[in-house]
Every structure is written in structure tokens, then in C-alpha cells.
């Protein structure tokens, strides 16, 4: 860029229509147009990744109709979640009273078994074999060849 005017002045008496652009030797100035060191440039790039400038989309402006649509969708979802939560709570309540009834009966029928059932289990953890459900089944769906490990003390 800098060398272009000089080029033109040098060829003043030549017809400008046949002037071709000659690529000049790269200089430090046009290699690094911002004029900062590469280390500095890296910091600027990293900071600009976190900054919202130039990256934020346009604000979402919903028309009245769209807003009502959006609110309806959200309300429907909330009602659906409330319904699921209600079912869950009801089931947990039933389970709680079932355990209570079982324990009360056990206390009455066999205090020894009741005592055994009440042994503190705090600190009990899930076993390592517990598998979390996944999107797709594994290649070996079930491990059949299980042999009981005998622990010798």
C-alpha cells in the first residue's frame, strides 16, 4: 500500500492504462496491520471472545399475538409439570404410609425382626455396577456370566 504512490511517480511518463500491480516486498508494517505485538493481539482476541460487542443478536421483539403464544406454551408446560409433580407426591405419600403400616405390623408381630429392620444403614452407598440409563443400549445389553465373589476373611 505504502509503496504504490512511489511506483506511480516513478512511471510518470508511462501510459497508466497498462499499469499492472506489482507485489512489493512484505514489510513489517503490512504484516501486522494493527500494529500490536502478537502476544498483545492474542490477549485482545481472547478478551473479545468474552465481550458482547458485535456478537449479540438483535433484541427479540414479539408482537402481541406471538407473546400470547409464548405465554400459552410456558403455561402449558407449567401445568404439565405440576401434574407430574402431583402424581409423584401422591405416590410417595402412598409409599410412605405403606412402609409405616409394614413397620407397625412388624413391631407388633415380631419385635426381633423389627429390631433387625431398624439397624442403622447410614453410609450405605450405591454399588459400582449401577448403570445410568443411556440414549441407546450398549453392545452387550446384559452381563449374564456373573459369579459370586467369595470374600475370605
Amino acid at each position: 500500500m505504502l509503496s504504490t504512490p512511489r511506483l506511480i511517480t516513478r512511471c510518470k511518463n508511462v501510459d497508466t492504462s497498462i499499469l499492472t500491480i506489482i507485489r512489493t516486498k512484505r514489510t513489517k508494517a503490512n504484516k501486522n496491520s494493527t500494529g500490536v505485538s502478537p502476544q498483545m493481539q492474542r490477549v485482545v482476541t481472547q478478551l473479545s471472545v468474552m465481550s458482547a460487542r458485535k456478537k449479540q443478536p438483535k433484541m427479540l421483539k414479539l408482537s402481541n399475538e406471538d407473546l400470547i403464544k409464548h405465554q400459552t406454551i410456558e403455561t402449558a408446560w407449567k401445568i404439565y409439570q405440576d401434574k407430574l409433580q402431583g402424581q409423584r407426591t401422591l405416590r410417595l405419600k402412598k409409599q410412605y404410609f405403606a412402609v409405616k403400616e409394614a413397620m407397625d405390623t412388624l413391631k407388633e408381630v415380631s419385635p426381633a425382626l423389627f429390631y433387625e429392620a431398624n439397624v442403622d444403614e447410614s453410609g450405605k452407598t450405591f454399588p459400582m455396577e449401577l448403570r445410568v440409563p443411556t440414549d441407546a443400549p450398549p453392545r452387550e445389553i446384559w452381563h449374564y456370566d456373573y459369579t459370586l465373589k467369595t470374600t475370605e476373611t
Binding site: K58, S110, L113, P127, L130, P133, P137, W142
Partner: protein
């Protein structure tokens, strides 16, 4: 309070195989998730490609040429869908679609970047409707139901409590007596989750919850039949009273 004469106490085991595959979303759930994700994409910041691809490299070129270029604003042009507002090569009024350049996969590709092929959730046991298989109904919880003899009824396996051995130990050792030692189970709790009153002989049946992780149930006695059933299917096999009393203990 009159203490009853100690009637026969039985310990039953509710042995469950937990789901292997996540449950299917309902139509409403998947529609809502799609709506929310589209909304989120619309409001997402522009992808800073200049941070991930070094200027002038081959990977930058590949990435940039895979992207769809937005329509730019030109003077004297009428834009029916609004005047383009482009920053960092993104139309600000719509969501940004970041396209990852992909090479056509080879059939013998063994690299880690090869496309993922998911295994089907419907297995051979589902197709042949093999109710004794543990590999069926991967999206649901399965429960072990047994029937002893041709006259017996389908129910959770139950065992007599003789001495003062804890209920969960009776249930866990009992299942191994009828179904072999090849069972890797885990008792959820020592406490019974439910007591069932048998009207006929006045025996009390305490249900203990347990989970199976590996191994299989192989009945030692030929008369013993067994099935791995979902909650829905259990309804068809047990009598109504039994189902109503245990229904809320079972997962879908």
C-alpha cells in the same frame, strides 16, 4: 392391645431390573424442548470463529467455505424480509447456523471421529416376545414374578421366615435357593416397603425391594415358572387385589 398369635411371616422380594435406555419423550415434551432450543439459538451470541481458527490456515478455509453466507446490505436494494444487519458474518435477526465441515465417511473407518451408529432399543427378545428375558423392554423397569406349580399364582417370590433371621436376608437367600447363585443383586433397604395380608391362612407377607445388576434367574425346580414383566404387564398376570396393593411400589 391384644397381641396376635405370631402368624406365619413371609418375606417377598420385589426384584427390579432398572431401565437401560432413557424413557421416550412424549409428543408435548419433545415439542416444548424443540421450541426452547430454537429460542435459545435465536438469542445466542455469534460464534467467534476467529478464536478457534487461526487466520490464513487450511482449517479456517474449510470452515469458512462450509458456512452459508448471509445476504449483505447493498445500496438501493429493497429487502422484503428486513434490511440485513450483519456482524461477524452473522445475520443478527435470525439464529446462526454453525455448520461443521464433514468429510464423507469411509466404510472401514475405525478412527474415533467416525459417525456414531446407535444400537436399536428394540431387541430380539422384544421381537420374539420372550417374557423370561432380561433384555426386553429396555426403556421400562422389569420385575421378577414367579409361579410355583401349575396351580400356583403369579406373584413376587416369597419365602418363609423361620428363625429370627432379618427379612432382607431371608428374601435374598431365598431367591438364590430357587433361582441359583448367579445373581448380582443389591437390597435397597432392610425395611419392608409393604405388608400384604393373606386372607386365607392369615400369613403376613413383607415386601423387600432389591435390584439386579447382572447374572440371571435360572429356576432350580422345573415346576417354577418365572417372568420379567413391566408394571403394565403385571396387571394382566396377577389378581386385581394384589395389583392394587402393590401398584404404587412399582416404577413404570
Amino acid at each position: 392391645m391384644t397381641t396376635k398369635a405370631p402368624s406365619t411371616i413371609r418375606a417377598a422380594l420385589v426384584l427390579a431390573r432398572t431401565p437401560i435406555v432413557v424413557p421416550k419423550l412424549t409428543k408435548f415434551e419433545s415439542q416444548y424442548i424443540k421450541y426452547k432450543s430454537e429460542l435459545e439459538r435465536r438469542l445466542m451470541w455469534t460464534f467467534p470463529a476467529y478464536y478457534y481458527f487461526k487466520k490464513g490456515t487450511m482449517s479456517e478455509y474449510k470452515f469458512q467455505s462450509a458456512q452459508k453466507k448471509p445476504i449483505s446490505k447493498q445500496p438501493g436494494v429493497w429487502y422484503p424480509e428486513g434490511i440485513p444487519d450483519i456482524k461477524h458474518c452473522r445475520e443478527r435477526s435470525t439464529k446462526q447456523e454453525v455448520i461443521i465441515p464433514k468429510e464423507t465417511p469411509k466404510s472401514d473407518d475405525t478412527s474415533v471421529s467416525r459417525p456414531v451408529v446407535k444400537n436399536p432399543a428394540v431387541t430380539r427378545a422384544d421381537e420374539s416376545n420372550d417374557l423370561t428375558s432380561l433384555e426386553r423392554q429396555l426403556r421400562n423397569t422389569l420385575y421378577l414374578l414367579v409361579k410355583s406349580g401349575s396351580k400356583g399364582e403369579w406373584k413376587f417370590p416369597s419365602f418363609d421366615v423361620g428363625s429370627n433371621q432379618p427379612l432382607h436376608e431371608v428374601a435374598e437367600s431365598g431367591i438364590r435357593e430357587i433361582g441359583g447363585n448367579k445373581l448380582n443383586t443389591w437390597t435397597v433397604s432392610r425395611k419392608p416397603v409393604k405388608v400384604l395380608n393373606d386372607g386365607k391362612d392369615g400369613s403376613l407377607e413383607f415386601l423387600i425391594k432389591s435390584r439386579i445388576f447382572s447374572g440371571e434367574f435360572v429356576p432350580k425346580n422345573k415346576d417354577t415358572e418365572f417372568k420379567w414383566l413391566t408394571k403394565e404387564e403385571i396387571k394382566d398376570f396377577v389378581n386385581k387385589d394384589y395389583y392394587d396393593n402393590t401398584e404404587y411400589l412399582l416404577d413404570k
